[in-house]
């Protein structure tokens, strides 16, 4: 294959494109001016208000406790540790809700494509109900109904080695010291001792985010599946692929190509919506960094900048993953 000759821009083409170039240059100038105004205004305001700006506080002792942390966190940990713990909590709930909402979304999408009947109807109702009720309301509903309906500490439900009460779901852990044994959770005073705890805040937030986003994802997946030409399914049948095998091998890969960009946007929505955690006491970025750290250090400016930065970073990573996946899909098709 020979390299295509470099296209030369003729005078006529240039004349045609000139307004476009000028427009872009003008826009760039306006953006640059706004940015410059912003920075100089910011500096003037900070000086006028005698605010001390900086991130030095991150290395000070935080002095507060975080209810759930994937890293070791005590009141003697630093504010930086708190930021990391909060970011990990946010990532945890995004990952859990991302996977769960995808699974539910797929089921509902296939449900809506089923022939009219109970499954079809139920799936349609699911989408319409959960898509049209505000997410914050749903999260508060799951949280406060979980607290209301689950038994208190003293009347914990015992399901095998698993303990369930309104303080959370307590799974048995494995202990290695002194001998390898099952570490059964049990109530001791005000607390459940032993095992591994999943707090009701995490459960409610995961549920709320998953259910709400799965309703949107289901529609996106359905659109993707419907975009696959009927001939493809018939062709799959002629080579002996039916049912689930046809769906997984023929329909889904092609449906994904259409669904992925829209689904990617939905995952970004999910990531941002996870900040509603603050309402139900789940220690995420918004709550810990935007709330506790901001108020205790009085460095609201820096804390809010951190919050913006973290959410932007998370969403950019999601966008990157979607873009890479998209490229792979297209490559696969030989485009």
């Amino acid at each position: 294959m020979t390299a295509a000759p470099k296209p030369r821009i003729s005078r006529a083409v240039l004349k045609e494109r000139l307004p476009g170039y000028l427009g872009q240059a003008l826009l760039l100038a306006v953006v640059a001016w706004l940015a410059w105004r912003g920075v100089s205004n910011f500096q003037a305001n900070v000086r006028a208000l005698h605010l001390s700006v900086g991130f030095g506080f991150l290395h000070q002792e935080a002095g507060f406790q975080i209810a759930q942390s994937l890293i070791a966190f005590t009141p003697t940990s630093t504010y930086l540790d708190a930021v990391i713990a909060a970011a990990l909590n946010t990532l945890l709930v995004i990952a859990l809700a991302g996977v769960l909402s995808t699974l539910i979304g797929l089921c509902i999408a296939f449900g809506r494509l089923a022939p009219p009947g109970l499954v079809h109807g139920a799936s349609a109702v699911y989408v319409e109900v959960f898509r049209n009720v505000p997410l914050l309301l749903q999260i508060l509903f799951w949280y406060f109904s979980a607290i209301a309906f689950l038994p208190g500490l003293e009347d914990s439900l015992q399901i095998g080695p698993v303990l369930l009460n309104n303080r959370g779901l307590f799974l048995p852990g494995v202990q290695f010291d002194p001998t390898i044994a099952l570490n059964r959770p049990h109530v001791e005073g005000f607390d459940v001792v032993g095992g591994f705890a999943i707090q009701p805040e995490l459960i409610a937030l995961t549920l709320g985010l998953s259910i709400y986003n799965s309703a949107f994802l289901a529609e996106i997946f359905r659109a993707g599946i419907l975009s696959v030409p009927r001939g493809q399914i018939e062709a799959a049948a002629t080579v002996g692929l039916t049912g689930v095998r046809a769906a997984v091998l023929i329909v889904l890969p092609q449906a994904l190509r259409v669904a992925l960009p829209a689904a990617g946007g939905q995952y970004q929505t999910l990531a941002k919506a996870s900040s509603l955690a603050a309402a139900i006491g789940y220690p995420d970025i918004m709550q810990i960094v935007g709330g506790t750290v901001a108020s205790q250090t009085s460095q609201a400016l820096e804390a809010m900048a951190l919050v913006i930065l973290l959410y932007a970073a998370i969403n950019l990573v999601i966008a990157l993953i979607v873009a890479l996946a998209n490229r792979r899909l297209l490559k696969h098709e030989g485009r």
Partner: protein
């Protein structure tokens, strides 16, 4: 070229403080000038704290904090009805003050070193509070020492979080904490038994309990774990505005000390007592030095009455809160409340 104020305020209200700082014009030159130009005093208040800042049956917000806002409006503008109340949580309040969304916070925030050094100025303590714990009546806990390993509900970013950490740390006790964006949700979660106890200012606990139909199902533990000096807040770098807020609040306390009430304040203008004369501005020129009339304190007292009257009307024994004066009694009566000398 500063962008329209509305845009600045919108970005601050939505928590986009950095954007607000960058977009909005220079920091406000003089708050009092702004207040006079706007013809209204903008106060940031608590979302909902019965007795302090809550909507009454007519849908109008009233309470102890609202009266302080009215007093400042009366002093600055001569009209206590010229107020604009903005319910704010902790995040929006601390961001909204320096950027001019509000002129003063008549809120329930504690004066702490970090807040003061960070640019929030507390002109005068108007409420001496302390934090306490509420538990279920049936709870095994009768004192704080019994709360080892307990789960505690509270407001995120509040001083309560730090108090719990330092108190439990000092006493080598363990705890779990669940923090909520609003005090109401923290309280709901506690009532729903998500937590064994809830910590807040004792006045706040009383306010919440007053709202419950089954308040006898709960008990407040006797110990007070902290000192909470509470008062209105202004932004730093505004000495004239800070002084006006301080001495308006001070006048309310001085009036109680001197026996000046809402009812008798007009007669008291003829008083021969030099202290009363200086308080009401019939002698002296303190008001004009702060950019208002010398009778600014008279107007404030005329609007809302003295400190004792404000207390009795909103949180006193005849209200659902039934708070006794305790630490907030005048020094003459064994409390901590006193005025700065007006001379």
């Amino acid at each position: 070229m500063p962008l329209p104020r509305a845009l600045c305020n919108a970005s601050t209200m939505s928590g986009m403080l950095t954007a607000a700082f960058a977009l909005c014009g220079a920091a406000r030159a003089d708050v009092l000038d702004d207040v006079k130009a706007n013809g209204v005093l903008k106060c940031g208040v608590t979302l909902s704290a019965p007795g302090f800042s809550a909507e009454n049956n007519e849908g109008k917000r009233d309470g102890f904090d609202i009266d302080l806002c009215k007093a400042i409006a009366a002093a600055a503008l001569g009209d206590e009805t010229k107020i604009q109340l903005t319910p704010m949580d902790l995040k929006t309040a601390f961001a909204g003050l320096p950027t001019g969304v509000v002129d003063v916070l008549t809120h329930r925030f504690t004066w702490t070193e970090s807040r003061d050094v960070g640019g929030l100025k507390f002109p005068k303590i108007m409420f001496f509070d302390g934090q306490g714990f509420v538990v279920n009546q049936k709870s095994k806990a009768n004192k704080i020492a019994d709360l080892n390993n307990a789960t505690i509900c509270t407001l995120q970013g509040s001083t309560s979080e730090l108090i719990v950490a330092s108190y439990f740390g000092a006493h080598k006790m363990k705890y779990k904490i669940v923090t909520f964006a609003s005090a109401e949700q923290a309280w709901d979660a506690f009532v729903g038994k998500r937590c064994d106890t809830v910590i807040n200012d004792r006045s706040g606990l009383a306010a919440r309990l007053a709202k419950l139909p089954n308040k006898d199902d709960y008990k407040v533990l006797a110990e007070t774990v902290s000192n909470e000096p509470i008062g209105p807040i202004v932004a730093q770098g505004q000495p004239r505005w800070e002084a006006l807020v301080r001495f308006t609040l001070n006048a309310l306390v001085a009036a109680e000390e001197l026996g000046v009430t809402r009812a008798n304040v007009d007669d008291q203008r003829n008083s021969q007592n030099p202290d009363v004369q200086r308080l009401l501005g019939t002698t002296g020129d303190f008001g004009s030095k702060m950019g208002v009339g010398n009778d600014y304190a008279y107007k404030a007292i005329k609007a809302v009455g003295n400190y004792g009257e404000i207390w009795d009307r909103n949180v006193g024994p005849k209200t659902p809160l039934r708070l006794d004066r305790g630490r907030n009694a005048l020094v003459a009566n064994g409390g901590l409340m006193m005025s700065i000398p007006i001379r």
